[in-house]
């Protein structure tokens, strides 16, 4: 694996927990706040994932 998680982590990003925590706060806010409803955000997320072939 090119980028492996730490022994006690589930993600490579667990190597930088403070940054990962800050990222997850942003991600959560983007889903829970703002004037766009979640179904619309989910459509955008799926479309974006397909365009960049993220494999979901």
């Amino acid at each position: 694996m090119r980028f492996a998680p730490p022994p006690d982590g589930a993600s490579f990003f667990d190597h930088a927990p403070d940054v990962f925590r800050a990222f997850n706060v942003v991600y959560g806010q983007l889903w829970s706040a703002g004037g766009v409803d979640q179904p619309t955000k989910e459509v955008a997320r799926l479309r974006n994932a397909r365009v960049v072939d993220c494999g979901i």
Partner: protein, 138 residues
Amino acid sequence: MTFATWLPVDAGTDVGDLLGGAGDALRALYASLWEAGVDPAVLSACQEAIEATVGARPRTTSGTVDAATAAAVMFAEQYVVDAHGVTDAQAAALHEHFTDAQLAALTTAIATFDALARVRALLAVAGGTPVTFTMEAD
């Protein structure tokens, strides 16, 4: 950074303030990137390369850079163009110059810089209303 937008907002608006709590969270994430143990010069070089690749700024030629910066910038540009195109050789070069903790922070930084540059590009229009999208604290 100030740019002109097609958004129907007042001049001087900061786009981050339109995001509610996500704006403050984004600024906190941005600040954390610069405190995560990666040389700020490397981060700046990556940010400039990403913005140039997205078309948000002219590409500058600053002469030779050290091997660590070159590896990081190559990774950043590959991320923008095609994240699946990162090669084993590029990954090996990154591991040669950065710890896993630095690589985790660097990758998050690249993703953040890419997102910010694309948002600015998406919202920009010639002759529009001047706004800012500021990540740095006052």
